[in-house]
Amino acid sequence: MEATTIGAVDESLYYIAAFAFLLFFGIVFFLVYFSVRYRAKRNPVPTEIHGNNLLEVLWIVLPTLLALSMFFYGLTGYNFLRHAPAGSFEVAVHSRQWSWSFEYPDGKKSPQLVVPVGRDVRLTIDSDDVIHGFYLPGYRIQVDAVPGMKTYAWFKATRLGAFDILCTVYCGTNHSEMMAKLFVLPQDKYETWLAGGAAPKDGDAPMDGE
């Protein structure tokens, strides 16, 4: 599989989910089983046990190793997310209460993010007023837009379609309406748009995105 930001995030999500479910069902099983098996009616006399060194060492060491493995999974994915490939397609993202705007290298500005399919897209993000959160769940991208500094993120636009861009850091009254769209278009349609063609609409691109 080609390395994408989606893969980098989803791999660790599913890895952790597998162990989380395993541990969860183990915990619930023993809670319920002991509650039934050792209820006072069935087991009127308790057996005194103060501890068990082997068992306790085991459940210090095992969770530690498991936790460390999760950390490394997260770290590997994150390293990938934080290092945009050289030669990425650059777009500047500006945010303000309560809208996004996208600025292209040639100076073109757009309220929607439109990119050609297959490219690595590097976003440089800033804010004019308060902190916003640039969130593109369809490509597993999130980073805050902070006034006074520039943050960045990148993704590989592998999937055609329209994707929601949302604000995740609460920024005032219309926080929940601070939305935009990402359109990943085939190269020819992208060029038409760049040359001044009409803004794409939801139906324009095949919706295999989400």
Partner: protein, 541 residues
Amino acid sequence: MGDTVHEARAPYFAPQGGRRGILSWLTSTNHKRIGILYLSLIGVFFSTAVVLGVLMRVQLQSPSMRLMDARTYNIMFTLHGIIQIFLVVIPGIPTIFGNFALPMLVGANDMAFPRLNLFSWYLFLFGAVLAAVAVFTNGGAPDTGWTFYVPFSLKTSVNVPLATFAVFILGMSSILTGINIVTTVHQLRAPGMTFFKMPLSVWGLYATAWVQILATPIVGITMLLIVVERLFGIGVFDPTKGGDPLLYQHLFWIYSHPAVYIMILPAMGIISDLFPVFSRKNIFGYKMIAFSSLAIASVGSLVWGHHMYVSGQSDTADIIFSLLTFLVAVPSAIKVFNWIATMYKGSIKLEPPFLFALTFVFLFSIGGLTGLFLGALSANVQLHDTYFVVAHFHYIIFGGFGFGIFAALHYWYPKMTGRMYSKTAAVVGWLVTFVGFNVFYFPMFIMGWQGMPRRYYSYLPKFNELQLLSSVGSYVLAAGVAIILVNLLYNAKRGAKAPDNPWGGATLEWTLPSPPPLENWEEPPTVTKGPYDYSGMEEKR
């Protein structure tokens, strides 16, 4: 500690020394009375915040709902957060049970500084009044979220300084309570009670008190800086003057992450007391649980940056904070395993307090395991500031603190009131809250996973069904909470008389009458056995 017959000493809540009525409560430095004073205030605040929460869920029932406008909704989640965090969950267990139960648990007659104790209650009241005033005056309530993130909080409604100052005052109250608890544990333990003969609830409160003392000043100064920034414009958090908004977030979370442990550690301690009592056997791995509390308190002070993975802080910082975050998960896991192991070969009675304790473990486990997703750097990118986080911390805070305090209330209720609640009603209340809780919050994990950001007044149509389900769950949960509260309130005066030791506990408070007299012991008790040693107690059960 044999079967001494208690000569009739008046219960602690009877009129004493010529003072009666409300005034005798407001001037009393007695630890049990102050505990009840806190309980009354916190009960009112909790109910208020639950109502706010339900109103928010009504608004979110459908994306086109217009119960309130967006600004009102933003104020509501801000108030819900401020009340629940600063007025309920952080003070909750240390003030209610740290006062009511702690001196009895260590065999003392009162806290180390009784007058300071009453003073901190008044500070708490004062902070709460300030917060309430901030809601109704001077342009209206703050709409910043309980985190008061700059620079938004520097620009929005005019009452932010008053609200943040209220938080500062509440922090002072919390610090004084912490000082009282640490000193009490060091100085006032009964003869024979070594540190390793203390009940684990005392260990929990003790570790918590250190966090209160060491972390709260940082949020105190941060809140003061917001006030000063708002009033004079000093510029330290204002990017237009060279200030760094991320520095605010660091300072805020240096306290507010440890604050999560202020919320959960004492609850864990109480749960550790309940598992042995209702399994009739010693806790599995006493020292491990005691030390894991200290481990959580210390390592937990170094993980604040995991709230800021996507904030723009350096990647190196992200990596260090993520590593520490995974390490702090381990002591919590140890506690869960030890609790469950305590049940092994026990003789278990599913009394109401224990049902709540078991539910605590169930919900806390879900909260803890979902925390692993958020701790992992890449997974967090998708889940950060979404409903996944909202669900996660409600599983920890409501599932942990909330059910911990429900367990504690049902456990010490006979000691507090001298009466017993209806056990049937308690079980019904438990079942309804348990079902409502999971229907309410579990869908939020799914919505967050699918990209539903938090603090949204409205939402995309793809979330319609799950949002509705979640709202229905919230109504069920609120009904369950109401059943629990009514049962406890109604029976405080009308319930059947409770025996001195209804659960067969081996800790010191159960050697006192129910309710205890104003002065717990006439002669200091001598401790010769551990807190979970039930040998020779079978016949009294």
